[in-house]
């Protein structure tokens, strides 16, 4: 079966306060940068085997629903590439 690299990008939902993002934003502003907002998320890279890209995406979606993402506070995007 072919191998795919999946990239899961996880962020707090827009309405949820990200205290780490706010702290980093303030530090950047203190350094003189003009930063309107900072949101800190997580990036997870997985190597999966699947029959095709559609199946790979389905599998990773299942992983997100089951463990990787907390839908109460987080959102996510998945990108898949061969290899």
């Amino acid at each position: 079966m072919p191998t795919y690299t999946a990239h899961v990008d996880i962020h707090l939902q827009p309405a949820v306060l990200d205290p780490a993002g706010v702290a980093v934003q303030k530090s950047l502003q203190q350094l003189g940068h003009r930063v309107a907002q900072v949101r800190i998320g997580k990036s997870i890279r997985l190597q999966v085997t699947a029959t095709d890209e559609t199946q790979a995406r389905k599998d990773v979606e299942a992983m997100c629903a089951q463990l990787l993402v907390n839908p109460v506070i987080e959102t996510f995007t998945i990108t898949i590439e061969p290899g």
Binding site: V16, L17, P19, A20, A23, L67, L68, N70, V72, I73
Partner: protein, 237 residues
Amino acid sequence: MADLARFGVVVFPGSNCDRDVVQITQTCLGCPTRLLWHEETSLGDVDVVVLPGGFSYGDYLRCGALARFAPIMRAVRVFAEQGGLVLGICNGFQILVEAGLLPGALMRNQHLRFICDQVRLRVERTDLIWTAGYASEITLPIAHGEGCYQCDPATLAELEAHRQIVFRYDPVAENGSVANIAGICNRAGNVLGLMPHPERAADPELARTQGGMDGWRLWQNLAQMARARTDKGILAG
């Protein structure tokens, strides 16, 4: 006197308040108490299961997210669904929300502050085994970096409507929790999660110098009343 309750305290890799609970339930109260390793699949004969504080699985991914899938948690879920008493303290609370046994989520404290303090709490209801006989205001220690309780407005309305908010920080939640929530129960009231540590305020030897004794009644209630619930057939271990 009724038979004393049998306690089971779950130990995950990274739990660090498990022995504190045993100190109270076994040493101070004389209740049979066993440590339940996270890889076990059965709880045995227990009347109360405690998910203790700590940093299960190093808090990797999200606090409580990995502990939720430990083999023992399947048994805890069944126990809870049958009406068994499940208490999640601090990290244990985080595990209960990740497992969906309680609604909402616990996030990084506002201002990123790890808070280690004695806090005043309002006890919102005393018709539960956990809180029977409590005064409306108590003081308990907290120590957490991720205790900011969050949920959507619909969930909050439900929590309020079904009187599931058991403890609130008074006057305000330094950690940023919505509605000043410090502890909630499920609708049936048999599953309780809270960020404060009742096991750190229940040992008379320590009470004089730190912590006070406001956690004592919760443990005493369980010790004296939990066994009778089991014997009445509310659950089968």
